[in-house]
């Protein structure tokens, strides 16, 4: 965490530095480039301006000199002397007047251009005036100033006429241009000026210059090698450890052309200003960078420290600690984040509580669910271990609750469950725990001192069902079975305790008791039941089941007219499983529907084959009470009949009297549909239930099967059974039903039944149930007679 925080700070700092450095570098480069351009521009401008200033200064100096010279030559005495033609006098006058105006050389020029006299010891007498063009200009009255090298010095010459009043002669006056002159110009422009005489191939000394001695000598040496240059692109000359932008130009453009001026400006000086600017910008950038670094450090800490705290808090939440809140005083985004964080934390806490509640409570009744109940049981067991005493558990399962749901709707069922929850809560002590374990199963956990106390609590619990449950106009009585188990008597752990309460509850249900306490040793039975159920499913899909057939014989003809299909289970481990064991389990679990369909399919298929093969037989299949709630059953049977080609009248379904009576109207509906297909309906185990004859009449029944309990010991002299069987036969016949007796196991019974007018018989006396091939063989064998059965066929 710390490492990451630091790296975030570092990143931020690096980013900032990189940004600033790039920005600064870009600025400096831009400034530098702009500076260089500006320096070049400045240098060019300075040179150009400097040249212009020099030209202007020299021009105006020339004009000034010309004016001065004009005044001089207008002096009457001067003119007079000139007119006199006396050379010595003239020479002296020239010198005299020349000194007045600080001239360096004065010539008197005749009208034809030859020198008549000069102040240089008359060395030039009778030679043409040295600055010939200027003389020509003066004659035509044009500007009369020119610069020329003369006597190894730069001179500015003016030529003015001597008027008397027409020109009688000309006076040429030369003024030396020396270092001082140029220095004055330099004072205006800061440029260096050096005057040269332009003469090709000839090495000329520098005539005048603002440069100091050594630099002047250097320039004189190097000026020849100077490449052509212009003001826009001056040459660079390094002299005296300084860089000079250098340009050579004609001294006075358009005037006497033998003079050139070298203009030089120090690039270093021009650069200095920009160098200073660059340094200032660099300094400012560095300051900004440092300031930013400090700022970024503070900013990063201002972000990373709260982030660190938030991260720690997030870890706390991850570990399930919702108690601490995080306080960040800042009103910025981090503050908002912190408060959002706190909100999130409380939200998570609420939702987690909600989820935990949902995970531990039943959503319908709000009671604890199995998970929480087991927790509580564990707690109670732990407490009992420490403090002594017993922990009791009552398991309550509602009887026939599925029927309530199926017939009255789930809504009604839900209301009943909720009402039970409420009633339970009202009945038990505050320290007890009530839970809904699922479906119609409730459980109560309590502390008790001894088994009688537990029984008392169970009794109290059972009283909640005394009052009927009413919804609207409907009022329904609900019964339940209760099982009790106790720690430490029956189990040491919650799971076992619960399982044993469950077993006790099933015992109660099986024995039609309201309450049952677990008895040691019941466990194996219960486990076996559970394993049987799961194995049965495999058996149905596998090939462990088969159908055996037991013939039904007509009393009058002695011929088998039908066969009852009976399921047999050859368990791979336990061997043959008695149907009396697994069929009720299947009925409880609902697997009976699957079993019934399987048997139906086999029976119909077999019977259809028999009929095709000439065996004139019907087949009977047992339906369970649950099958009567299978609304799809009629269409399934119809499909089977159609697929196999069996006549519907050849199929007979047997339903126990109790199954029919449980819900006569519903059973009537399903049976009616089957009857409509032409299927024959038989009431099985007749006489064991308490059938309402009125109900019976309304059912589409074709046959009554007298329960074996009345038949097995039926004797001529037996009073009670005989009377029941006789009245049943009579009753059946009166209602137009066939009557069949099962459990016929002796000749005597056969005879009694025959005498009573019973229509059909079934039982070991005739034959045991047989697998299909044996049954077929039996049918094709010698016809059965009561007599042959007694001796030949044990059944």
């Amino acid at each position: 965490m710390n490492k990451k925080t630091r790296s975030f700070q570092t990143k931020l700092r690096l980013l900032m530095i990189a940004g600033l450095v790039v920005l600064q570098a870009a600025t400096l480069v831009a400034v530098h480039l702009a500076g260089r351009r500006a320096v070049q521009q400045t240098v060019s401008d300075e040179l150009r301006v400097g040249a212009r200033v020099l030209a202007r200064v020299l021009e105006s100096r020339g004009q000034q000199l010309a004016a001065t010279a004009s005044v001089l030559t207008a002096d009457f005495a001067f003119r007079e002397v000139v007119a006199s033609g006396d050379r010595p006098t003239i020479t002296s006058v020239l010198r005299n007047h020349g000194e007045r105006i600080a001239a360096d050389a004065v010539f008197l020029i005749s009208l034809d251009g030859t020198v008549d006299a000069d102040t240089l010891d008359n060395r030039f007498v009778d030679t043409p005036f040295p600055v010939r063009d200027l003389f020509a200009s003066a004659q035509s009255g044009e500007p009369t100033s020119a610069i020329s090298s003369f006597e190894h010095r730069a001179h500015q010459f003016v030529v003015v006429p001597v008027l008397a009043p027409v020109p009688i002669a000309y006076v040429g006056i030369g003024f030396a241009i020396d270092d001082k002159t140029l220095e004055e110009v330099r004072r205006l422009t800061s440029l260096h000026y050096s005057l040269l005489r332009a003469s090709a191939g000839e090495r000329e000394p520098v005539l005048a210059s603002t440069l100091a001695g050594p630099a002047r000598a250097e320039l004189a040496q190097r000026v020849r090698a100077l490449s052509p240059s212009s003001f826009a692109a001056p040459a660079t000359l390094a002299m005296d450890s300084q860089s000079y932008a250098t340009v050579i130009e004609p001294l006075l453009p358009g005037n006497e052309g033998d003079m050139q001026v070298v203009l030089q400006v120090s690039i270093d000086r021009a650069r200095r200003a920009f160098r200073r600017l660059e340094l200032q910008i660099f300094g400012l950038s560095t300051l900004a960078l440092m300031g930013s670094l400090v700022g970024v450090t503070f900013l990063a800490r201002g972000i990373s420290l709260p982030l660190q705290r938030l991260a720690e808090r997030a870890q706390g939440i991850g570990a399930g600690d919702y108690t601490a809140t995080i306080e960040i005083g800042a009103q910025d985004e981090l503050g908002q984040l912190a408060s959002a964080f706190n909100q999130m934390q409380s939200g998570i806490r609420e939702r987690e509580e909600q989820i935990r509640h949902q995970a531990t409570h039943d959503s319908l009744t709000g009671l604890p669910n199995r998970t929480l109940f087991l927790d509580r049981v564990q707690l109670a067991i732990d407490r009992a271990r420490r403090q002594g005493g017993m922990v009791g558990m009552v398991m309550m399962d509602l009887d026939r609750f599925k029927e309530i749901n199926d017939t009255l709707g789930h809504h009604f069922g839900d209301v009943v469950l909720c009402e039970i929850g409420r009633r339970l809560l009202a009945k038990v002590r505050a320290s007890d725990t009530i839970a809904r374990l699922g479906g119609d199963e409730f459980a109560v956990l309590f502390d008790t001192a001894d088994p009688p106390g537990a029984l008392e609590i169970a009794r109290r619990v059972s009283t909640i069902l005394e009052a009927p449950f009413a919804i609207g106009d409907l009022s329904i009585a609900v019964t339940a079975s209760l099982g009790i188990s106790l720690f430490p008597l029956h189990a040491d752990d919650p799971g076992t305790l619960m399982k044993r309460a469950d077993i006790a509850m099933y015992d109660a249900k099986k024995n039609n008791l309201a309450t049952s306490m677990y008895e040691s040793g019941r466990d194996d039975h219960s486990l076996r039941r559970l394993s049987i159920l799961s194995e049965l499913r495999q058996a149905i899909s596998g090939s462990q089941l088969e159908v055996h057939y037991q013939p039904k014989v007509d009393f009058t003809t002695g011929r088998a007219v039908a066969a009852e299909a009976l399921v047999r289970w050859q368990h791979p481990v336990h061997g043959p499983m008695p149907p009396g064991e697994f069929v009720p389990l299947a009925e409880q679990s609902g697997d009976i529907r699957m079993l019934t369909r399987w048997v139906l399919e086999r029976a119909v298929t077999d019977c259809a084959r028999w009929n095709r093969e000439g065996l004139d037989l019907s087949v009977a299949v047992n339906l369970s009470a649950l099958d009567l709630y299978d609304s799809q059953l009629p269409s399934v049977i119809e499909g089977l009949l159609r697929a196999s080609g069996l006549e519907p009248t050849r199929l007979l379904v047997e339903i126990t009297e109790s199954a029919v009576m449980k819900d006569a109207s519903h059973a009537g509906k399903i049976l009616g549909e089957l009857k409509d297909q032409g299927i024959v309906i038989s009431i099985d185990d007749f006489g064991t239930g308490y059938s309402s004859l009125a109900h019976l009449r309304r059912l589409p029944v074709d046959e009554l099967k007298i329960d074996r309990s009345f038949v097995i010991d039926l004797r001529e002299e037996g009073r009670e059974d005989l009377m029941i069987v006789r009245s049943t036969i009579e009753l059946g016949h009166n209602m137009g039903l066939k009557v069949i007796a099962e459990g016929v196991e002796s000749l005597e019974t056969w005879k009694v039944l025959a005498k009573l007018g019973c229509d059909l018989a079934q039982g070991y006396f005739i034959s045991r149930p047989m697998p299909s091939p044996q049954f077929e063989a039996w049918m094709r064998g010698a016809p059965w007679t009561p007599e042959s059965s007694v001796v030949g066929r044990p059944g």
Binding site: F76, R79, V82, Q139, S140, L163, A164, P165, V166, I168
Partner: protein, 193 residues
């Protein structure tokens, strides 16, 4: 200085012993020239009339006339008709002189007894300028509309001279012989200033 040719025409004529001479002075393109001094110097040693007097007036800071031809030996007075003073001078070789600042007419005229051209100036007014053309003949004139007419010149041979301040080089004189009652016309090209 550009050179323009101009023609100088002499028209000589003579009546009995006298002849008339007409001289046309024309620039190139036959443009008549003014203010050109034409003078004819007799070559036959004839007696010449004595020189007379002439006046070089100063008005409105201007010499009048600008060009004044005179016979050698003529006395020229320099009356100052301005209400300011002038200081007339000439440094020209034939006669150097100066009249110190003066008003009115100087008491003594100046006699110019050498032929030649004198440039006149005023020392205090540089713009004032004039020429005295001193010639050894009484036969001279200033061209008007490019023409000078000499009437009743004695017959004989003459050297005809032309002068103008703009002429850089002195033109070679032309010889003209005038017979009595002759009417001579001369057309001479000339290069003025």
């Amino acid at each position: 200085m550009s050179k323009i040719l101009f023609s100088l025409g002499f028209l000589a004529s003579s009546l009995a012993l006298a002849a008339d001479l007409t001289v046309d002075v024309r620039a190139a393109g036959l443009k008549p020239l003014d203010q050109v001094v034409i003078y004819a110097i007799p070559q036959d040693g004839l007696p010449l009339p004595p020189p007379g007097r002439a006046i070089m007036d100063q008005r409105d800071r201007t010499f009048t006339p600008h060009i004044l031809p005179i016979q050698t030996g003529t006395a020229v007075s320099f009356p100052n008709n301005d209400n300011i003073r002038h200081q007339v001078y000439s440094f020209s070789p034939p006669r150097r002189f100066q009249i110190p600042l003066y008003e009115g007419t100087p008491s003594q005229p100046i006699v110019f007894d050498k032929p030649g051209v004198l440039a006149l100036g005023c020392n205090i007014h540089d713009r004032m300028s004039a020429y005295l053309v001193v010639v050894d003949t009484p036969y001279f004139g200033l061209a008007q509309d490019g023409q000078v007419q000499f009437r009743a010149l004695p017959a004989g041979t003459y050297e005809v001279h032309v002068w103008h301040p703009g002429l850089r080089r002195t033109m070679a004189p032309q010889l003209v012989t005038l017979n009595p009652s002759d009417r001579h016309e001369l057309l001479v090209p000339a290069g003025p200033r």
